[in-house]
């Protein structure tokens, strides 16, 4: 009985503790994640990877560190997700504690939440299958590591060329920040390849052409399955629901040791005081947790040229003006998004008009075009898919009608002969009528004249 009361009390306290969280949590208006569950193999990872974690905490994230086999692990309670993001730094966890498993992680992603997964040599099947579901297949050989004999990091103590100085970074400001990462990124871990059928997953950091994935201590008996630039070291996935996943083949990539280490790439005499790791992981972390590259589109409006209200329907050949506002989330506020490649489609089964929108540098995109001379139910479609940005997909339906019968041009010159004919006939009839009824006797008696009239009119 006492236990029960105690349990209730704990329940109440945790519920109360949850309340302030809910105000800070992820929402369409405030898309940055707030609460992140960090799963660790070991508590000491918390201190050995503290720079990465501190960077997150200093940006306002609420990190909840748990051991991967903690029996109380749960991502959701009463159907509500307790966290907005998940960091899995538990490469060897064969299974998670509590109610967390592969399906729960995938559901978490399916409901639009973000995940960082780091694997390492001897990564467990669980981690491998999480990555495989995201389109990244780790090398099946458990002892294999990425080895590169031409672009390794020179070091006096590390001689087996598994510490790789990688500089094949994806070129994207939204993923890696505006500042270019100059120093190579140190990587020590396992290789993965991207599933060619998954077109949402991208290599962020890829190996050089001479790299291969093998056990450095064993002689090779068959060609390694992953070689060259097909090897991905770090990949990202942005799902269709804009959930973001980061998959790294190395846990050490995030560690204080490599973040602080100096780096000199083999065959290159430039020595960098500090590796590019810190900038790389922190910038990528910002992207994953939606501090960057999150777009929203509002105020999709269209109207006839010269008018301001939105019509219920357009007529063919109308001139219309279309505008939409696009903003990017900066982590704290919505900033105008400036790009010159936003396009609108005027769409019915296939695009009839596809036009690039011009912007006013304040987030307002607009264009004007003529409605095609095809009637039917059209859609304004803005399908904006850019590397690293969330997908914008807007559509607004609008019918287009043909001319009404009285909207065509009247009094066409070509028809003048017909008009002339009709009216001359009418007038003639009227005159005739007038003449016929009021003719003088003199005229009436003139049979000749009567015949003439008859000849003309009957």
């Amino acid at each position: 009985m006492r236990n029960l009361v105690l349990l209730n009390l704990i329940g109440c306290i945790s519920f109360v503790a949850l309340l302030p969280w809910s105000t800070l949590s992820f929402s369409p208006e405030n898309p940055t994640d707030r609460r992140i569950l960090v799963l660790l193999d070991d508590v000491s990872l918390k201190s050995s990877h503290s720079i990465f974690f501190n960077a997150l905490q200093s940006r306002g994230f609420d990190l909840d560190f748990k051991l991967a086999d903690d029996p109380k692990l749960a991502l959701q309670r009463y159907g509500q997700y307790l966290y907005d993001g998940l960091i899995i730094f538990a490469p060897t966890a064969e299974r998670f504690g509590g109610s967390l498993d592969l399906a729960a992680v995938l559901n978490f992603v399916d409901s639009g939440h973000d995940v960082i997964v780091a694997a390492d040599a001897n990564a467990s099947d669980l981690i491998r299958s999480i990555a495989a579901e995201c389109g990244a297949d780790f090398d099946e050989d458990p002892s294999a590591m990425v080895v590169d004999h031409t672009s390794y990091a020179v070091s006096g103590t590390d001689g087996d060329h598994t510490l790789i100085a990688a500089d094949n970074l994806i070129k994207s400001e939204v993923l890696l920040g505006k500042e270019k990462i100059v120093a190579p990124v140190l990587f020590k871990g396992i290789a993965h390849s991207l599933n060619p059928e998954n077109n949402l997953v991208l290599k962020v950091l890829s190996a050089s052409a001479s790299a291969y994935s093998a056990n450095p201590n064993d002689k090779l008996s068959s060609p390694p399955s992953l070689t060259g630039s097909a090897i991905s070291l770090v990949s990202i996935l942005q799902a269709r629901n804009n959930a973001r996943v980061l998959i790294s083949g190395s846990l050490e990539l995030f560690s204080n040791r490599l973040l602080r280490a100096g780096v000199q790439k083999a065959g290159d005499f430039t020595k960098y005081e500090k590796s590019g790791n810190e900038q790389f992981v922190i910038e990528l972390g910002k992207w994953v947790f939606h501090e960057r590259g999150h777009l929203k589109a509002v105020n999709l409006t269209h109207h006839k040229a010269g008018e301001s209200s939105e019509p219920a329907m357009y007529r063919i050949n109308d001139d219309l003006e279309f505008s939409v506002e696009i903003y990017e989330w900066s982590g704290t506020s919505w900033e105008p998004y400036v790009a010159n490649d936003v396009q609108v489609q005027f769409y019915m089964m296939s695009p009839y008009v596809l036009k690039t929108l011009s912007n006013n540098e304040k987030g307002l995109y607009h264009t004007s075009f003529k409605v095609p001379d095809v009637y039917g139910v059209f859609q304004f479609k803005v399908e904006y898919q850019r590397l690293g940005y969330t997908t914008l997909s807007l559509s607004k339906q609008i019918p287009v009608r043909p001319f009404k019968h009285n909207e065509y041009e009247r009094f066409i010159t070509t028809a003048f002969p017909y008009y002339g004919a009709s009216f001359s006939a009418i007038l003639s009839l009227h005159h005739d009528n007038l003449m016929e009824t009021n003719q003088s006797e003199f005229f009436r008696n003139s049979t000749n004249a009567k015949l003439t009239l008859a000849g003309v009119y009957y």
Partner: protein, 967 residues
């Protein structure tokens, strides 16, 4: 957790080869990390405890930060020490800080505190109380010699603390708390060490012995890693392994120093703890860093045994640069070791078990403090090795105080430049083995061979690898890659026999693998190894392969990988191509023709002039002249109306005569007009509409008939007066009501079928909508009929009321009292329930608003025919028109009769005028009623104006009614 921690350290030392782990003493990286962590706190330390931890860390690491915080911290220390309310814990922290900062404090303060602390030792019950008080006394002892800190009853205190120990060597925090912890053990040992040194007389030796045993037991519970390091785990889990191990180390080192006796701990145990602390690298939190540094500092100068760490400044030795093997031996904090010599005992070649025994002493270089092996042994070629070292202490005394950890195995990579010779690429003819083309490869330069081969030929690539010492070298990576222009890659391992590497690609056997893809293949050769300094990745050129056509069943090459980035980016713009406007003749041509067309008219006018046309016959008398003018003006007006109509569009509403005229003509036209397609009645005028009310058959009537006509007209007048704007439906309703056949046998008010409305108004949705409005406005009522699924009768509400009255009159004979229920029904149920059905409950409650309702009342209503029971749900009633039964029977039979009649005709069709003259035998209703009903319900179709056709198709019977205007 132990398991997990194991994995962590494994992960951290993945680089290390299993049997050899690398541990390096504390170095500058720790110092910079400590400063960075300190900077992260903005220099503002929250409590004295944190201040102490920071100061202690900096002190050990040799960083001077004291001056920065001395003034502010000393003030806090002073306040704490002088405050009478300070708990032993606060005093302890303050004294600890003071121990490092050496603040200006007088002995007076210490004296007061010491007595208070002694009291608290006496009263202490929990381990933490003991710990804080005794440690504080120890600190006072260390900071001033003036104050007496001796404990009188040291034995008693010792026993009290000892009472908290457990059999497994761990301690409890208090007697109430049954759970023991390693962290507590560390604190307890430190406290006991304090008691021993504070004791005024010797402590009982047996007590100390038992504590020693506890320590040994405690060490049995260490967790071990594969690499030879070990640590303590706190059973309760409140403290991490770092803090627990650190506490134990502090405890045993202070115990060892206070007892000045051997603890019988082997050096290996200490060594493995040292390895643990060195192995965790640089912790990310200040607390952990403090624990690590503090523990290492305790180990660095302890009375048990000081671990010596052997490390290699560089484990990658380049043969070409003649690197020497250097070994450094330090204590854990990196301070120099006592005089000793290092011996290289064994060298293991990685990947093989065999070891060469060397037993060579390294030369000590006093300038750098390194032990150097000047030349590597002869047998050492490039490769990766594990060197095994042993530390020999010169002074035998030192063997007791230092732990060397036995043999230390460290991985060493000996690298060098490998010679690549006789690299050739040859195309061979298959059958003869004779060389077709032979190219020498320049390994260090650019190669771009353009070879060509067909499937009957072979490609052979050979090269030789020689180490600097002239031995054969087998690299880890020797790949030949063929890459087709479509992106398909093939990777081959180049095998070796001795020095010579050779690969022969027999294209005949490879066509399947190459997916029969002919064309250009780029050749790339990759040779690399971790000990090969000149690993290379070289494109060699390309080979043009001519392979046979693929047979049908051959495997398809994999689709070329699609660059996922390509799907991003803007699409090509699309602009709509508009239809070109219709071609028109030039304007001049149109005007020319206009002129030509007008010529006859001109001719006519001229003709009139020629004929000397006059208007002399125009009537001159007043009346005829007026009529003549009116006549001509009339015609002129009609013609000008045409002109205006042509000129103006949309036509002004005032002139919108519409088709209402048609309705106003005589009745036979009216009837046919209703059948015509299109909105028959469209009233946009505001003029009064006269709805014909005279049934076609009306004759000078009897009194009764006259009365009925008045009844009929009453709702009409009412509606027309209220609403000047009519909807099509209401007009149609009014009209049909007026055309309702006169039935003599049954007294029934006119009703209209919904299908009849459909027959006369094209837009059924509009009909339904307007009916719904009329229903809501209480103008009409809709009844469900039992004749068919979709049969609905519509009756004006006033008609319905009079129908009810008639039904009530017929019930007159029965109980008068109950008749009041009909009034209730009219006033309460009908207005609030426009739907065709009503539930029993609802009916009951609506009726009871007016008065007390009995079940008989409801049965009375049912008997009167106002309600009928639903067959499906007995609690639901349909509203019904009383007295309608015989008419409904006639309706169904009449439909059948009409359809079968037409069905018997040769062409399933009939002149409407003839059909209208026919009489139906079984129906009381007239032919027009039925025709409208059937057309509206889809049984027939009206078409044209002349004949009525029944057409039997797949779907049923259709009738095409063409009404002819005979007039």
């Amino acid at each position: 957790m132990a398991r997990n921690l194991g994995f962590l350290v494994l992960a951290l030392f993945v680089a290390s080869i299993c049997e050899a782990a690398v541990f390096t003493p504390i170095s500058d990286s720790h110092r910079s990390a400590a400063l960075e962590l300190f900077a992260a706190t903005d220099g503002s330390l929250q409590s004295l405890e944190e201040t102490y931890e920071a100061l202690r860390t900096f002190e050990v690491l040799g960083i001077d930060k004291k001056s920065e915080i001395k003034t502010s911290t000393c003030k806090t220390v002073d306040d704490t020490l002088w405050s009478a309310s300070s708990a032993p814990k606060d005093l302890f922290q303050a004294l600890r800080v003071n121990g490092i900062l050496k603040c200006d404090l007088n002995d007076e303060a210490f004296t007061g505190i010491a007595s208070r602390l002694k009291d608290s030792v006496r009263d202490a019950s929990t381990l933490l109380d003991f710990y804080y008080s005794i440690s504080s006394l120890m600190l006072i002892k260390g900071q001033t010699s003036e104050v007496d800190v001796k404990l009188e009853d040291a034995d008693g205190v010792f026993r009290a603390i000892k009472a908290l120990s457990q059999s497994d060597g761990r301690w409890r925090f208090s007697t109430n708390n049954p759970e023991s912890s390693t962290y507590a053990a560390g604190l307890a040992l430190e406290t006991l060490a304090g008691v021993i040194s504070l004791a005024s007389q010797e402590i009982d030796q047996s007590l100390i012995e038992s504590v020693k045993k506890d320590v040994l037991k405690l060490f049995d519970a260490t967790e071990k890693y594969d690499d030879g390091s070990c640590y303590f785990v706190d059973a309760q889990g409140s403290e991490g392994p770092i803090s627990a191990s650190s506490a134990v180390i502090r405890g045993i080192t202070s115990l060892a120093s206070s007892t000045s006796e051997s603890l019988n701990l082997s050096g290996d145990k200490i060594m493995c703890l040292a390895k643990f602390f060195l192995g965790i690298g640089i912790p990310g939190s200040f607390k952990d860093l403090y624990y690590q540094v503090d523990a290492l500092a305790c180990l660095d100068k302890n009375g048990v045994s000081v671990p010596l760490i052997l490390s290699l400044p560089a484990s990658v030795l380049s043969v070409t640069q003649k690197d020497q093997l250097k070994v450094r031996v330090n204590t854990v904090l990196g301070s120099p070791a006592p005089p000793l010599s290092v011996k290289l005992m064994q060298i293991f070649t990685s990947g093989s078990k065999d070891a060469s025994i060397i037993d060579q002493e390294l030369k000590f270089d006093p300038a750098t403090g390194l032990h150097v092996l000047e030349t590597l042994p002869e047998s050492i070629d490039i490769g990766s090795y594990t060197f095994s070292f042993e530390i020999l202490l010169r002074d035998p005394e030192h063997k007791k105080t230092y732990a060397t950890g036995g043999r230390t195995k460290l991985p060493v990579y000996v690298t060098g430049v490998v010679d690549v010779d006789q690299a050739e690429i040859i195309i061979l003819d298959s059958d003869l083995g004779s060389a077709e083309t032979k190219k020498k490869i320049n390994v260090n330069g650019e190669n771009s061979f353009a070879l060509s081969a067909n499937h009957l030929q072979k490609l052979r690539l050979t090269f030789q690898l020689t180490t600097p010492s002239g031995n054969a070298f087998k690299p880890h990576q020797a790949f030949l890659r063929l890459k087709h222009e479509s992106g398909v890659e093939h990777l081959f391992l180049v095998g070796n026999s001795g020095k010579k590497f050779e690969i022969i690609l027999d294209f005949l056997g490879l066509v399947e693998k190459f997916f029969y893809l002919s064309g250009r293949y780029d050749i790339q050769l990759t040779v690399g190894d971790s000990v090969m300094e000149n690993s290379f990745f070289q494109p060699l050129g390309h080979v043009e392969l001519d392979l046979p056509e693929a047979p049908e069943k051959a495997a398809r090459p994999p689709p070329p990988p699609v660059d996922p980035i390509s799907k991003y980016g803007p699409k090509a713009e699309i602009t709509h191509i508009f239809r070109s406007p219709e071609k028109r003749p030039p304007m001049e041509l149109s005007f020319t023709f206009l002129g030509l067309v007008l010529l006859p008219f001109l001719g006519f006018l001229i003709g009139l002039l020629v004929l000397r046309v006059n208007l002399k016959n125009f009537p001159s008398a007043a009346l005829p002249a007026v009529f003549a003018i009116a006549f001509h003006l009339g015609i002129g007006a009609v013609l000008s109306l045409y002109f205006v109509f042509w000129l103006k569009d949309p036509f002004p509403p005032c002139l919108h005569i519409g088709k209402v005229e048609i309705l106003l003509m005589n009745p036979s036209i009216k009837s046919s007009a209703i059948w015509r397609t299109g909105p028959v009645v469209s009233l946009y005028t505001r003029s009064d509409v006269i709805i014909p009310m005279e049934p076609s058959t009306s004759k000078p009537s009897t009194g009764r008939k006259r009365q009925r006509e008045q009844e009929v007209s009453s709702p009409e007048n009412h509606t027309a007066g209220d609403n000047l704007i009519f909807s099509d439906t209401s007009v149609a309703l009014q009209m049909m009501r007026s055309q309702f056949p006169r039935i003599d046998k049954v007294s029934i008010q006119p009703f209209i079928l919904r299908s009849q409305l459909y027959s006369s108004i094209k837009d059924r949705t509009q009909v339904d909508r307007e009916l719904e409005n009329l229903k809501r406005e209480m103008v009409i009522r809709i009844f469900k009929l039992s004749t068919g699924q979709d049969d609905h009768a519509i009756m004006f509400l006033d008609d319905y009321h009079s129908q009810i009255e008639r039904a009530v009159k017929r019930l007159n004979a029965k109980k008068q009292d109950d008749l009041v229920v009909f009034e209730w029904f009219k006033t309460h149920v009908l207005p609030s329930k426009p739907d065709p059905s009503i539930g029993h409950q609802e009916l009951h409650s609506l009726l009871s608003v007016a008065g007390k309702v009995k079940e008989e009342h409801i049965s009375l209503i049912i008997n009167a025919g106002l309600l009928t029971r639903q067959l499906i749900d007995p609690n639901m009633y349909w509203f019904a028109i009383p007295n309608i039964g015989s008419i409904l029977k006639g309706l169904t039979q009449g439909r059948k009769e009409l359809l079968s009649f037409l069905n018997r005709r040769k062409y399933k069709e009939m002149m409407l005028s003839l059909l209208e003259k026919k009489r139906l035998r079984f129906s009381l209703l007239d032919m027009r009623f039925h025709l409208r009903d059937l057309i509206g319900s889809g049984g027939m179709i009206g078409y044209g104006e002349f004949v009525a056709i029944i057409y039997k198709g797949n779907g049923g019977i259709w009738m095409v009614v063409n009404a002819k205007h005979s007039q």
